[in-house]
């Protein structure tokens, strides 16, 4: 909402208040500031001039030479403007002047002719192009009447003003008006409010002789007020009115349109004027449109209406879309002699729907959508007529048509002093509360021992006691409310699952893995890119009705594509190594099509690439996490059928009977699909399961007191024998003294027969109660060897 301060001062005396203070105070009472600008700021030495003579430039077809009288001098100025004539009063930027945008004007020569300055357009004086009157668009601003020559234009037109932009919250549609903001200002500074009288001095005849109104859809039009003005003289508005409209961001058109716009800005109530002589039988009927009917609006566009839309019709046809836009067929023109002024209340939801369905949003519709009080029409119609009379634009016909089948009664809200004090946290007296409410125009009364507040017609947002609490609080001042802490005795703590997630992240970070965050919605095609089969369960996805695009159209069922996207992005940006993880939700529908909220399951997905990365660095990272969370008794088992992974380099992590995750190198197809230049490694873990398995109980294990005996063993086994198989045999034959077994070498190649490999293990034996001697271990070692020979056909090397 743009508020020109001079205009605001019409309603409330704030001459002694600096603009900065005005803004600060209004911000604290609820109208947030979104910036401000000063009209005419930076303009220097632009003065009033009169064109005394215009001659064609001798060397340029599109230029002319003007002699401009600026009082103490007559300046020769060359211009390209075409809208000027001799004897026009115009703004002149003389040598040394500054125009909008800080541009300095200097004398010079244009095509050989001296030019001692520049004639100015409104744009050059800093006005928005969108609010400049059409006649001065791309032309010089011709002043409406003579002004003292040589006078500073800012002074001559009383141009200087500050325009403050306020953010109006959706509940306060009443503040989308100058008077609404004036009320806020008056309440904030405890000043009196002066409203326009709406008094019309001379009225002739009776409106009922000129027109009639009937409402056939009272559900969508609770009130319709009309007045008639005859002997209309369409002309330009006076400059003060044009300037106000421009400062508020509206383009001046002619006196009648400008007055309706001015009063709309003043009260927030949309107004429409019909050319009464084009309204058939002078009858106004408010009704629903015919389904499929065609209608041409003021903007010269034909629109198709539906029976849900409310229209204004005359005896024969539609003449306006209620609350949205009038019709071409009854538009005011230069020839208009009599007008009917419509000031009506329309249902906000209906206007919103009509406006949306037609794709037509106007000043009027956007105001009706937010809510306009039914208390306004009579006040507003009189104000319009008052201005028409003042400007001499027509003769007002007596009386007003007011169709208002069910007048809205003022709401009485009961309130309690203690409740208001209790919510705010400050002790307020009844007197204080009454004072604050009164400042806002809210009357209070006592009935049967109960306090009531009477909601003024313009405050559609007040319905409950709690609404009054806010009114009192903001006028009392949020800044004056004290600061305390709740006395609530709760303790802060993370849940077990949250602690486990934190711990898991610590383990991941200490393994050198960076955390990423990616979108929860993905493309359907992502699952093709990771090679999943047509009938994979993960293809049952939660779909969005209105996604931003295919790329973001389904909720993810796997984090793998997201992680791969990030790996690929980094790789393509020539980052030579990346280790990343995300802990995030996947969305698994309970049924397709989706009816119930889907299952949201947390997954932990790790991705890596880079020279030093391989299956085993990733495996190590996974072990760090699981070990760090106190999870033991899991093992890695080869997986050859997961389509995303290298068939020979993939494993499931098994815990009991559960697969808690899959890790491996990317399948070459997947690597290619993501345009990844190097091999990539992925681990995909069910984090919900990890939370279940995590175990924070740590028990102390005594540090060994006695030395150990170490034995190395090197054997030749068939290639397909796994390390896990060997370890299991070693462990099951190692007895109590075997402390650990660890592979330290694996060799294939020369000296080793094809299909075989040489593997070497370090075995550590230890007793809790004595120092072992070789004899203790020899027998066990022999048993282990024998078992390896028997079960795996291992040969000692």
């Amino acid at each position: 909402m743009r508020v020109p301060v001079k205009w605001l001062k019409e309603y409330v005396n704030i001459d002694d208040i600096a603009e900065k203070e005005l803004v600060e105070k209004l911000v604290l009472t609820g109208s947030n500031n979104e910036g401000s600008h000063v009209v005419g700021e930076g303009l220097e030495n632009i003065i009033v001039g009169k064109i005394t003579k215009i001659v064609q430039h001798p060397n340029a077809d599109k230029l002319c030479i003007c002699m401009v009288d600026v009082g103490d001098d007559v300046l020769q100025i060359v211009t390209g403007a075409t809208n000027i004539s001799e004897n026009d009063f115009i703004p002149v930027a003389v040598h040394g002047a500054t125009i909008a945008g800080g541009i300095k004007i200097k004398k010079g020569k244009l095509r050989g002719e001296v030019s001692n300055g520049m004639l100015c357009s409104l744009e050059e004086m800093g006005f928005d192009k969108a609010s400049i009157p059409k006649e001065f668009d791309d032309g010089i601003f011709i002043l409406d009447k003579p002004y003292p020559l040589g006078m500073d234009i800012l002074e001559a037109l009383d141009l200087k003003d500050t325009v403050i932009e306020f953010e109006i919250t959706p509940n306060r549609s009443d503040c989308l008006s100058m008077i609404g903001m004036a009320r806020e200002t008056a309440a904030s500074f405890e000043r009196a409010l002066t409203l326009p009288s709406g008094k019309i001095d001379t009225q002739v005849d009776d409106v009922n002789e000129y027109a009639s109104v009937s409402i056939e859809a009272p559900d969508l039009c609770p009130r319709y007020v009309a007045k008639v003005v005859k002997e209309i003289k369409i002309e330009k508005s006076p400059i003060w009115l044009q300037m106000r409209l421009m400062n508020a961001g509206m383009r001046p058109i002619n006196n009648i349109v400008d007055i309706t716009n001015y009063v709309m800005l003043e009260y927030g109530q949309p107004i429409h004027a019909f050319d009464l002589d084009t309204v058939k039988d002078h009858k106004i009927i408010v009704k629903r449109a015919e389904n499929g009917e065609k209608f041409t609006t003021l903007d010269d566009k034909e629109r198709e209406l539906t029976s849900e839309m409310l229209v204004i019709a005359d005896a024969e046809r539609t003449i306006g879309i209620a609350g949205v836009m009038g019709g071409e067929n009854t538009e005011i023109s230069k020839a208009t002699q009599n007008i009917l002024i419509e000031v009506a209340s329309f249902d906000k939801s209906s206007i919103r729907k009509t406006s949306k369905d037609l794709g037509l949003r106007t000043e009027a519709s956007s105001r009706y959508e937010k809510g306009v009080s039914t208390g306004l029409p009579m006040i507003v119609v009189n104000r319009v007529c008052e201005l028409i009379e003042t400007l001499g634009a027509g003769t007002v016909v007596g009386g007003a048509i007011d169709v208002y089948p069910t007048p809205v009664e003022p709401i009485l809200i009961p309130y309690r002093v203690e409740k208001i004090s209790k919510v705010i946290g400050e002790t307020l007296t009844l007197e204080e509360i009454i004072k604050y409410l009164d400042l806002l125009g809210i009357k209070t009364l006592k009935k049967e021992g109960q306090q009531f507040a009477e909601v003024p017609y313009y405050r559609l947002d007040l319905t409950k006691e709690i609404d009054l609490v806010e009114e009192v609080a903001r006028i009392y001042g949020y800044d004056k409310i004290g600061m305390t802490l709740p006395k609530t005795d709760t303790w802060g703590a993370r849940t077990n699952a949250q602690l486990i997630e934190e711990q898991a992240k610590l383990e991941l970070l200490s393994s050198g893995i960076d955390e990423i965050l990616t979108y929860s919605f993905v493309s359907k095609k992502d699952l093709d890119k990771i090679n999943l089969s047509e009938n994979s369960i993960l293809r049952k996805q939660v779909e969005l009705i209105n996604p931003l695009g295919e790329e973001y159209s389904v909720m993810r069922t796997s984090l793998i594509p997201n992680v791969l996207d990030v790996l690929a992005r980094n790789s393509n940006r020539k980052v030579n190594q990346a280790r990343i993880f995300e802990i995030g939700s996947v969305f698994l529908p309970k049924e397709v099509p989706v009816v119930n909220l889907p299952i949201e399951k947390k997954m932990l997905t790790i991705g890596m690439y880079g020279e030093s990365e391989d299956f085993f660095t990733l495996k190590g990272a996974c072990e760090n996490i699981l070990d760090g969370l106190g999870i033991c008794d899991y093992y890695f088992e080869k997986e050859e059928n997961h389509p995303t992974f290298h068939t020979g380099r993939c494993a499931n992590i098994i815990w009991g009977t559960h697969v808690i995750g899959t890790i491996g190198e990317l399948h070459p197809h997947v690597q290619e699909n993501y345009d990844l230049q190097v091999r990539g490694y992925l681990a995909d873990l069910d984090f919900n399961m990890i939370i279940q398995m995590a175990n924070a109980d740590h028990k102390f294990v005594a540090i060994p007191k006695y030395p150990a005996i170490e034995r190395d063993i090197a054997i030749l086994v068939k290639d397909e024998i796994t390390s896990l198989q060997i370890e299991k045999i070693v462990v099951s034959n190692g007895g109590n003294l075997l402390e650990s077994v660890k592979m330290f070498d694996m060799y294939k190649g020369k000296q080793i027969p094809a299909g075989y490999k040489s593997v070497a293990y370090e075995l550590i034996f230890r007793a809790e109660d004595r120092t072992l001697v070789d004899e203790d271990v020899n027998a066990i070692f022999a048993t282990i060897l024998k078992a390896l020979e028997n079960k795996l056909e291992a040969q000692l090397r």
Binding site: E470, R494, S520, E543, P547, A578, E600
Partner: protein, 339 residues
């Protein structure tokens, strides 16, 4: 014999003086004082001496022995020192050469900021609540007193799954779930992902993060709300931070407000960062609307409470001076490694 001993001492002195290193000194010791050393040998001949001569020569022999030992010790100390010095000098390194780094992982900056905020609220007695990203229209709008024709409900603002299911547009539905599932006193924060139908650009992302706070108990006041958020702001942005509470509007709170903090770049003087105002808006808040409490099964005549919500991405971007929200979701590791 005495002269022989004195001669030996002279020899030893000369040799010690000329000894090039510790090893040579040890050899000298063995040569003169060892079991088969020269002094020892002479002493063995003492048995041939007369009873009168024996103590005299014995004394001289001991003195010679002591002198050699003393000399040896002194020179040995020097030599040892020199040798260590030489060793240290030889082993000198260029300490400005690069270190041997172990890889260190980095949290995403949004979570780094979130962690900081969580710690503040945990310390103030808040627990952390969570809720689903795919929500019902009921939890996201209806129960939060959002008018049925509120523009935020439209397809152009909100992503829908079905007519009554959507991607939550705010973390506020977690409020509703928390209030429905637990009895007062309630004191929680609820961080999470939210979604709005915004095209991606430097300041908009269809997915973003919010953090919601909720306190419900008897006798909760606006002063409690102010005190809580003022303390939060001081802990997050520094103890000099000032807060400004302005009235605002949200359907689910009444009275509602927005909170500005004094600009942490300029301290409130006004700078480019705060648009010259000296203040930066950081969150929305208010007293929970009685309609919402009632909808969640809490009697608004007995209990009341406050709620607040803030944009984590915005706070993260302000904190680290990140100027494009897209950077947060591109996950370039060179970006993440900065935090």
């Amino acid at each position: 014999m005495k002269s022989l001993l004195e001669q030996l001492l002279e020899h030893a002195k000369t040799e010690i003086k000329q000894a090039p290193n510790l090893k040579a000194l040890e050899d000298i010791r063995i040569k003169f004082l060892g079991k088969k050393g020269e002094v020892t040998t002479i002493l063995k001949d003492m048995k041939n001496l007369s009873a009168e001569e024996r103590p005299l020569i014995g004394k001289v022999a001991n003195e010679v022995r002591a002198s050699i030992e003393e000399l040896l010790e002194a020179v040995k100390e020097d030599k040892k020192k020199l040798e260590i010095e030489a060793k240290l000098k030889a082993e000198s390194i260029d300490v400005t050469m690069p270190s041997k780094k172990t890889l260190r992982g980095h949290k995403h900056p949004i979570n780094t900021a979130l962690d900081e905020i969580k710690e503040i609220f945990l310390g103030m007695g808040f627990k952390i609540a969570e809720g689903p990203e795919v929500e019902s229209v009921y939890h996201n709008f209806d129960a939060l007193n959002a008018p049925i024709d509120h523009p935020s409900r439209s397809l152009s603002d909100t992503f829908y799954i079905t007519e009554d299911m959507l991607l939550r547009t705010q973390t506020s539905p977690i409020q509703v779930r928390t209030m429905k599932n637990s009895a007062p006193p309630i004191k929680v924060i609820a961080p999470g992902r939210c979604f709005r139908n915004d095209e991606i650009d430097a300041t908009h992302s269809p997915m973003f993060h919010q953090l919601e706070g909720l306190v419900v108990d008897k006798d909760i006041t606006m002063a409690d709300l102010k005190g809580t958020l003022d303390m939060f702001a001081k802990r997050l942005f520094g103890s000099q931070t000032k807060t400004k509470f302005r009235p605002h509007y949200f359907p689910f709170t009444e009275p509602s407000g927005e909170v500005d903090v004094s600009c942490f770049k300029c301290g409130g003087e006004g700078c480019r960062f705060c648009g010259g105002s000296g203040w930066i808006e950081i969150l929305g808040c208010g007293m929970i609307h009685p309609n919402v409490l009632k909808e969640c099964g809490i009697d608004p005549e007995v209990y009341n409470g406050f709620a607040f919500g803030m944009g984590l991405d915005r706070i993260t971007m302000m904190k680290y001076e990140i100027d494009d929200i897209r950077t947060l979701f591109e996950n370039d590791v060179r970006f993440i490694k900065q935090f």
